[in-house]
């Protein structure tokens, strides 16, 4: 069922999902100058250039020591209450909170030596999504905006999607690096959301009253309605209307594009594998968008970082109830949704040309706080990489005995973005031409 604005369009018809698949246009693959970059590019070419990126943005700062980098031999005030379990990767253990992901570690590679430069959520969020501090000058583009500028989505679908409730934020403010930045607002993400039942809505169209599912089949009438709505909104001074809703027009007018949003086309078995949660169904929606060859899909765990605050949607910012919420809520949801997604991508043969990354903006203090929880920790966290030419089943980087700092080469968000770009065929020369990711290097260990 598709919810568009203020209604649910359950009866949309059109071309089937398989027929919606298109082969992305071949884009020259520009190589960088270093050997590592050359090797990376060759590896990516060998397995097929990345056609879609799915970033699972674990907003709020997930605890690395309680999930993917446990330290059972650390002192009591560090190690936390959870036991550890082996994974399929030799020598790598997770906490017992992630059993499904542990049993699939041969499908992805774990980086345990991520670092960033800020302990402030919006600032670190911008760094995590753009590679740069928002205060260092003009806000740089989100990694997705860079990909969107280089790669045009097929059909009417936008090239850069946010799947989630809204632009990531904390209570005081939203992040600056959510969208196009220096590339312009034309490369901002297009927001869609799936609720726990898999009903997809497009918040930008909430103002379009009176459009029924029947009318949506009549393209001429739809466009007339939309034009009328645009005039009304422009006269009301909503100047962003035209830009941000052009894509929405296309979605509504193009039945094939709408198919990507219709999770009811999935079997109950597939839908249930992801779990009846907003994040789980968001991951399923991301897979459908990747299948429709949308170049970049960012699935936001939550809109707010705050984990246990009124009107906030349970982010990973576990200043209180860290252990309780990880155990009861966050980890079971992530463990299930990630495992379903990577299984699904693998089963459909999509992992070769789909890059799947999961990470947050920082980790959490390994030393347990006075509130029996953990605070922000920029000096060590994780990212998880799968598909897109990444050699799976490995651990890259290592943290110290208390998970406080990397003892191997630190890996930065700028390197994350550069690696994503490289794997998507945006080599050093093209990045320079686009004036993006300046100074970034590829994480050559990944490839």
């Amino acid at each position: 069922m598709i919810g568009v604005g203020n209604f649910k369009a359950a009866d949309c018809s059109g071309v089937g999902r398989r027929s919606f698949l298109k082969t992305a246009a071949a884009i020259p693959f520009t190589l960088g100058s270093s050997n590592q970059v050359m090797e990376a590019a060759q590896a990516a070419q060998k397995s097929g250039k990345v056609k879609s990126v799915i970033l699972l943005w674990l907003w709020g700062g997930p605890s690395h020591i309680d999930t993917f980098d446990p330290k059972p031999d650390a002192p009591m005030e560090y190690r936390g209450p959870f036991g550890t379990i082996p994974t399929k990767t030799p020598g790598m253990h997770f906490t017992e909170l992630m059993p499904l992901m542990a049993s699939r570690s041969d499908k992805y590679t774990m980086i345990r030596s991520m670092v960033t430069t800020s302990n402030d959520h919006p600032t670190a969020g911008t760094i995590g999504l753009t590679g740069f501090n928002e205060n260092a000058g003009p806000v740089q583009p989100n990694f997705g905006s860079i990909i969107a500028k280089d790669q045009v989505s097929t059909e009417a679908l936008p090239s850069f999607f946010y799947v989630g409730r809204g632009i990531p934020r904390d209570l005081p403010r939203r992040i600056e690096g959510y969208g196009g930045g220096t590339l312009g607002k034309a490369y901002d993400p297009f927001l869609v959301r799936a609720d726990e039942h898999g009903e997809v809505s497009i918040p930008q169209l909430d103002l379009l009253k009176g459009i029924t599912p029947k009318r949506i089949q009549d393209r001429q009438r739809l466009l007339q309605q939309l034009d009328n709505a645009e005039r009304r909104l422009e006269s009301a001074g909503i100047d962003e209307w035209h830009r941000t809703h052009q894509s929405a027009y296309g979605l509504l007018a193009d039945s094939k594009a709408r198919q990507a949003f219709d999770l009811t086309q999935e079997s109950e078995k597939v839908r249930s594998r992801y779990g009846q949660t907003t994040f789980g169904q968001g991951c399923l929606l991301a897979r459908r968008l990747a299948e429709a060859r949308v170049p970049y899909i960012q699935v936001n765990w939550s809109e707010y970082v705050e984990t246990f605050s009124p009107n906030c949607d349970f982010g990973w910012d576990t200043h209180i109830f860290n252990f309780e919420l990880l155990q009861d809520r966050h980890c079971p949801i992530l463990d299930r949704a990630y495992s379903a997604l990577i299984d699904d991508l693998s089963d459909r043969g999509m992992l070769d040309d789909t890059l799947l990354i999961a990470m947050g903006e920082f980790g959490r203090t390994p030393k347990i706080s006075n509130r029996a929880a953990r605070e922000h920790h920029k000096d060590c966290y994780f990212s998880i990489w799968a598909g897109g030419g990444i050699e799976p089943g490995r651990v890259i980087g290592e943290s110290d005995a208390k998970a406080e700092h990397p003892i191997t080469r630190p890996i930065t968000p700028l390197q994350v973005g550069t690696t994503i770009a490289e794997l998507c065929g945006i080599g050093a020369r093209k990045r320079a031409e686009m004036k993006v990711l300046d100074g970034g290097s590829v994480i050559h260990e990944l490839i």
Binding site: P81, L171, S272, Q276, Y304, P310, N311, I320, P332
Partner: protein, 295 residues
């Protein structure tokens, strides 16, 4: 053959009868903390009402057509882990009242009045339970690091710290005579279940696994403890004797079974089970040992 020996054999051979179960909810939304009140005629649990709100609801089990209704008018704060006094005049629960700030509510339902508990820190209150005489509330709170158990009277006064130990301490539960308190603590690297003789102060460890044993609850007759363990690969419900012996696995589902609580009759356990990605509440019989002849 003595009963204890018979039970041992039955457990060793896996000879417990099939556990009959009844499904209570069908909506599949995220749920937690089911408990019975009103002699088992009402079920209280916490439900994800929206993607940003956990709300306590009540389900009238005497009416098959009934729907869950909010327990309280407040629709802005998360409400979890409810416990009722033996006479059900008081209810206590953990509530989120502002950014990263929780509160332990002790509500006099008769007088419609809340007690105020004074702690330093930002309010990481968890797992309240009433003492057997109904005169005090025991709860977990982290004031200076480790999560410890505390006790207050029904007005939130006369605060006493009950535990002073390493690790996190949660889920207190009392035997019906009030002589023993069962709880879980993580000082041995992961959550294990302990029992304390309240008069003497001695503690004894009841479980020993390399992974978690959590949420112990003493049965109404005081003879057994239900709890959750991941010892068999995922979250399942177990029952053991009050001394830790004779552990019986009650559930066997591929997905998560959690948040067990006893039915007042002591023969059944209500719990949240995730099946096909949906979380609903089930009521399961405690299986009886199957009589076998050992030659």
């Amino acid at each position: 053959m003595s009963l204890s020996k018979f039970v041992f054999i039955a457990v060793s051979l896996g000879l417990y009868g099939h556990a009959e179960e009844e499904r209570i909810t069908y909506d599949g939304s995220n749920k937690r903390d089911p408990i019975f009140i009103a002699q088992g005629k009402k079920l209280i649990y916490c439900l994800d009402e929206k993607d940003d709100l956990i709300r306590a609801v009540s389900l009238d089990l005497s009416d098959p057509e009934s729907e869950p209704v909010p327990l309280f008018d407040d629709d802005r704060s998360h409400q979890t882990e409810l416990a009722y006094s033996p006479d059900e005049r008081f209810v206590s629960f953990s509530e989120c009242v502002s950014n990263l700030t929780g509160k332990l509510v002790i509500r006099d339902l008769g007088a419609n009045k809340d007690a105020i508990i004074d702690h330093s820190g930002r309010g990481a209150y968890r797992t309240p339970v009433f003492t057997v005489d109904g005169k005090r509330v025991i709860y977990a709170f982290a004031e200076k690091g480790p999560m410890q158990l505390w006790s207050v009277d029904l007005e939130g006064k006369d605060k006493i710290q009950l535990t002073e130990t390493e690790g996190l301490t949660h889920w207190p539960s009392f035997t019906p005579n009030g002589e023993h308190m069962v709880f879980a603590n993580s000082r041995e690297n992961n959550y294990e279940i302990y029992i304390r003789d309240i008069e003497v102060g001695e503690e004894r460890r009841l479980t020993e696994n390399r992974i978690m044993d959590i949420r112990p609850r003493v049965s109404p007759d005081g003879s057994k403890i239900c709890f959750v363990s991941t010892r068999d690969g995922n979250y399942e419900i177990y029952v053991m004797n009050i001394d830790g012996s004779d552990v019986v696995r009650i559930t066997d589902n591929e997905e998560r079974d959690d948040f067990p609580s006893w039915h007042p009759d002591g023969n059944r356990i209500v719990y949240v089970s995730e099946r096909d990605g949906q979380k609903d509440i089930f009521l399961v019989d405690i299986p009886k040992p199957v009589k076998v002849t050992v030659r």
